[in-house]
Symmetry: D2
Subunit: 471 residues, 4 copies
């Protein structure tokens, strides 16, 4: 971490005394200096402005409390100490939070020297005992620290918030990847499917939760309470996963419309004045929006479970439902089209190329601009895009990636399915239906997972073929 003459620079040295997270300076001297930590450390401690020093001090105080929480005292007074840590952390401003992340790297990472020793011992004798020692040596003290956060009321939600704050800083601070991994590891364990509770959301749900749906919904923004109310009427369903320790905080939610026939268009669904259909007369459940609420839980996947469980539950409640499908955006289509227009395959008609250019120059995208030929061409190209445009071996379109990996089948694309400005801008108004046939989901998923094989309807496949020939 440092050579001898920087001994005094160590932050919060008194809290380090008891800590187990750091090599003692002697070890670091005789062993190898940990170059990457040293570099961070130097960058932290020199040339800092007064503001930065203030941030350091605030962050340092939180770090000191964290050391106490990890110490012996933490075992007996954990709840109180954890409460102190939480309050202190919450009082930090953005620069101090940033400084605190550096403390988490510097003072709560595994000890490189201890890792070396454990690795050497395991190398010599790869016994179970030596493996256990090596596992212990590589586990960052942060993990136990984070677990102890949870002894205080609100610990878990603070950790989710902390990761939300951390994620945008990872690009500029690659050394913080370890914090991220520790939090993600913890969240995967804590937000394990087995602990999640599926709750139906309706007009009897608390305003506190409903308000959060309004806030979080990002696919088709909710325009206030009246809009929300329409989405919770008798021909709609909404479900969310909750964690028992966060009873007011939806983790992910899905909005479903019960319809007659597979819906192609978004706008009628979102129309506040649309008539409420008797659900007993419907045959189709349309998943028209699915929203991950917690940025801080990125990488913990819920959507997959949610769709399938909701489909199963609805199927039981309404045996007449025959079709379970999404009504999804095609968010990457127009961008891809523009790039395609600059390459050669598939070829675009001159008319379409010209039109795209006018859009690029800012002309409004309106339905009336597309005659029958353009409509046919664009539809074919969209089929081609969904089936053949790739990022690596996977589909380029992120929504396609999600549903196909879940075992859905690409069933249909819909002309002018979303005429909102976003819909027109991103995908020239096209939407897609992904079909969830519960009996096929596993098989589809495996075909996709092993071969990146996309299961699509014949119609889609034919359209995509024509795109190549005609284009």
């Amino acid at each position: 971490m440092s050579d001898g003459d920087h001994a005094n620079e160590r932050p919060a040295p008194e809290s380090r005394r008891k800590g187990t997270s750091q090599p003692s300076p002697e070890i670091r001297k005789t062993d190898d200096p940990a170059p990457f930590l040293t570099r961070i450390f130097r960058s932290l401690t020199r040339h800092r402005s007064a503001d930065a020093q203030g941030a350091d001090r605030g962050a340092g105080r939180v770090a000191a409390l964290c050391h106490a929480l990890l110490s012996e005292r933490g075992e007996v007074s954990g709840a109180r100490l954890a409460t102190d840590v939480l309050s202190a952390y919450r009082a930090l401003d953005a620069p101090a939070v940033d400084a605190f992340f550096d403390f988490l790297v510097l003072e709560f990472s595994p000890d490189p020297a201890a890792i070396e020793r454990a690795a050497d011992a395991y190398h010599a004798i790869p016994s179970q005992a030596n493996l256990i020692r090596l596992q212990a040596a590589v586990e960052p003290p942060r993990q136990e620290l984070f677990r102890r956060f949870n002894m205080a009321e609100g610990g878990i939600s603070l950790l989710v918030e902390m990761r939300r704050q951390l994620l945008p800083t990872l690009g500029a601070h690659p050394q913080r990847a370890g914090i991220d991994i520790d939090l993600l590891h913890l969240f995967r364990s804590w937000f394990n499917r087995g602990f999640l509770v599926l709750r139906q959301i309706d007009w009897r749900t608390s305003a506190l939760v409903l308000e959060r749906l309004i806030h979080y919904e990002s696919v088709h923004q909710i325009q206030g309470w009246d809009d929300l109310h329409r989405r919770l009427e008798g021909d709609r369903r909404c479900y969310a996963f909750f964690h028992p320790a966060l009873p007011d905080e939806p983790l992910i939610f899905i909005e479903v419309a019960l319809t007659r026939g597979m819906t192609a268009k978004v706008q009628p669904l979102l129309d506040l004045k649309s008539p409420v259909i008797d659900p007993a007369t419907t045959d189709c459940a349309i998943f028209y929006s699915i929203t991950n609420c917690q940025m801080g839980l990125r990488g913990v996947s819920f959507g997959n479970f949610l769709i399938k469980q909701v489909a199963e539950d609805l199927g039981r409640a309404f045996p007449r439902l025959k079709t379970f499908a999404t009504l999804s955006p095609v968010p990457g289509f127009r961008d891809w089209l523009i790039r395609a227009s600059q390459s050669s395959a598939p070829a675009l008609s001159p008319k379409l190329m010209m039109l795209l250019e006018t859009f690029e120059r800012g002309a409004p995208i309106e339905e009336r601009l597309f005659g029958p030929e353009l409509r046919a061409e664009i539809t074919r190209l969209c089929a081609y895009y969904l089936l053949h445009a790739k990022r690596g071996r996977a589909p380029l379109d992120p929504v396609a990636r999600f549903h196909l990996a879940n075992g859905a089948r690409l069933q249909r694309i819909n002309w002018m399915g979303d005429t909102s400005q976003t819909g027109m801008t991103r995908s020239l108004g096209l939407t897609a239906n992904y079909l969830y046939r519960l009996a096929d989901v596993e098989h589809n998923h495996e075909a996709y997972a092993q071969e990146h094989h996309i299961v699509a309807s014949h119609q889609l496949e034919r359209l995509a073929r024509h795109a190549q020939h005609v284009g």
Copy 2:
């Protein structure tokens, strides 16, 4: 794992195909053979009886399902596969469970070669990325496997049960320590204090839970429903920790008597016919029994939190309560006395030595045998035992170890405090009161944790001093 000519010996090769947990044979050949696994493996595969082979087959089928659960398919069909694993596991008989533990070692342990490579890379460049790789390499696939168990209804309780079955086998199978550590690691994360729910248990509690209290209580066995009912009357309190995923399963519970003055004797508390006192007239809360219910959660500590939270809650509900203390057994006293009688310090009176001998030969231990002198001597010796008899630097008596580490103060010992046969046999009828003064608990705990300093009343200290001199 093996040299070339044993390639065919690999058990359950079909389940290995998809698995990601194991090095491929080529790697193992070119790298170093994993000697300890090989040894296990050989012991497993030779000289097996027909029964043992049947057990292997059953266990192998569960292991194959486990591989599926860990595979790609597990991601999409996890809940179903986990349900299959659970049913299959539950159908195993004891030898098959034992065989399955071997599979867990053989097929779901980290890959030694991968560890070596990751350790080498980290040795060369101790970067964050290499650290993360090393952490991944040492994490057993079992951990993810166990997390996926939890996707099925009942997963968590099966895992607790599995560890209960595993623990007694660790002595004979040290290579299984890794399984134990993985489960313990998981349980410490899942049964984190922040997720536990404290519930008061009373006569309005479900019979399902109450029946389990009757079953689990081990300090002072509950003699059926009437006994339990008396323990839940108005002058008693009972609290338990629960996990939200196991709502009917108490993890630990504590029984409290609200009394006037600090109770010395167990039998009146347990008397079904004892009059029920108005709790408003009491000044003392006596913790007379604390029971860990789940053998499979050994090592996940709850008791510490429970006592303190219950003391705080009761203090708020009954501001007149001044004293929070246990009425505890002294389980190791007589055994220690016998050993002491064979050594020199502290010296025992000839009368006591003679009496102990008759007990050893089977004479019943009765109060009438102890005259005033013996009573005084034994009491002093018990004080000496609690304060000075050690295992390492900690008290020899396990109950003392628990409460003193929690920050309690050894307040009093009580002659004929427990005249049940168990009480007489284990401690010549003595009981101890450990005092929980919330204001001192943290300080006491630290003194104990750092110096193994025992905080005791003056009376106890004086008694202990006299034991040495007079003995």
Copy 3:
């Protein structure tokens, strides 16, 4: 109301000022002493022992509190006053409760003079307004008093208890019938079906409620917790009605066994060691016990609703269930047989008459005493008894009356269906199955209600016919 010289006779005159309670009847007719009230009053006030005077004093204090509760003050301080009334009432011993009932008659009955006046006014002009005045005049102040009891915690359960105490005294005190009618009127309103909550009782139910089932069950007594537990296993169901204001107090409960085929015998059902059947394999729901818990609610009928709702709920939960039937005692059979043996129709065989005589003399009733002929004869006679023995136009057997009035069909009688001592003694071991076919219940009920027509199986009718011819 009276002329001057009787003024002093009025009891509790100060409370009468506002009250409308009672003049004596004589006063009204001849304006001379009212015999029945006077008698009560004199019996209350003269020649009373010291004990009785103490009871009067206690009851008088409660009555005075009742007047306060009914007064202006009661409107603003009702909850407190009602609480005082409740405590004071609860402190009364049996003689004081009895005296209090007299106060309820004397001081909280309608005012006869006011009734006369209102009746006269209505007679003169039968207008709506005069009708309303007459309705007000005949309503006893007790009704409002009882409603105000309910402002205190526990008011409703005290009223139920009060009626339980009142009922046995009605025979000796016919003037108390009005109290009974007022309470019944109130209870019919409060315990209206629309307010009752049907709850399934199982092993997750609170011990407080379960303990009461054990206490109340009177058809087939529950022999402690193990017996209860067996009755709540997977092949059994238990349901009870509760009132929201009495959440721990079952009003009525029914025990159901899910069986394969219509059960004939009680003892296997009650056998603690009987194997638990998978409910998915059953086709029959047997109602084997239905218990009204609250003596004080006699006359408020619940059973009728309970059976039908439980049958409907079970039918939805287990579509395979085809038969819903009771397994019922035939409680009046033997008594009737004895009386029949002394009359001429239907004629009993000499052998049976002799046997009945030995039973009357105390000989134990055992299965081995009945040969095939006796068995056939007794079975026929039982069919005859159920179909033709009457009380008025209704069946003599009270259980038959209940189920037939509910719309059930008398389906089968079972030889040695209940070999318990009670079963043998009351009905020579016979049991009956009443069948609840939901589709026929209303029709059966109407046939019964209008014509006392009993719907029975052909087999039962044939048996009953043979009883007459052969007997």
Copy 4:
């Protein structure tokens, strides 16, 4: 519906066969014809338009179902029949509802001849038995009918709705008073304080209930969800009474602001942007709005209980609260002032009289129009109004009547306490604080109830005195 000869006049004769509600025609002929019923009936049956005949037919169908519900069949198939009645009633349009009320009068009133007979019998022998018969004779069959409504889901809320529809028709149809009394009688029994549940309303309450608060609040209208949210922040409390059978339907609710000092002004309380105060720093609970939600429950008083229980609950939760007071409108002040200006006592200043005139002619009422002298005069007059203006012996102001009858003390009047248009128009901007001192409430109430004595602060009394002298 019929011509003059009476045989055919019986409405719904088939349903009458079983009914007990009506005298048979013979009786009515030979006895006295019930003149008032006949008159109603004739008015109903002649000169009816086609529309009216349609309404009669619809209402007649409901009435026929009601007869069935009251019959034997109702006892066994009550739930189904009640459900049919409810649906049929809900399908009625306004004229048909009106016609149905006439059926309730004609066919479900007590039988006059039966009343006469019972009254005669009671006159002859005023025994308990005859009293009971008379009570039965005067009870309208409607009462039992309404009780049976409650066997269906939603019965109770339909009855509340029915009374809401009935009330406005009573003026024109005095013969319907009996229906009203029956419903009120039922509701007083069913909505008895002992059955009501006090629930705190906050942002965790269901949107369904919150939406109803927005709808019902009439004192200070709630301007949408943001306004409601502000009223549920940390320095506010809201409580409502609910009935267990109507869990989503608030019966009455009260809004409370926790403040520092007794608030005088409405507008700051209603300001959405007002800062949220830490409730721990407040000393005063201001009841600033109390709303009866159910028009159909008019006459069943809840407010009295609600204020007192909320004051008690808040006092326990926040021991620092010293003052419990309302911030109330003075709704009748300006109207009274105008009338006062036309009489002689108290005399108004010419300036004030002129100003009132300009307001009457439509000039806007604005604060700047009132100089210090007018302010002083108006304040005095308002004190005079509240203390001395009467309706009978009670205060003329309805809000004063309510709070003073509840035992509150008139504490203060506030200049420009409500500057909303309503506030200015009704009371020239004045508001009043009524103080609820729990210790005095009962005493104040009794003084008011017995003598109409108004408890007011000295300041108010002085102001009122000056009004008379100076005026």
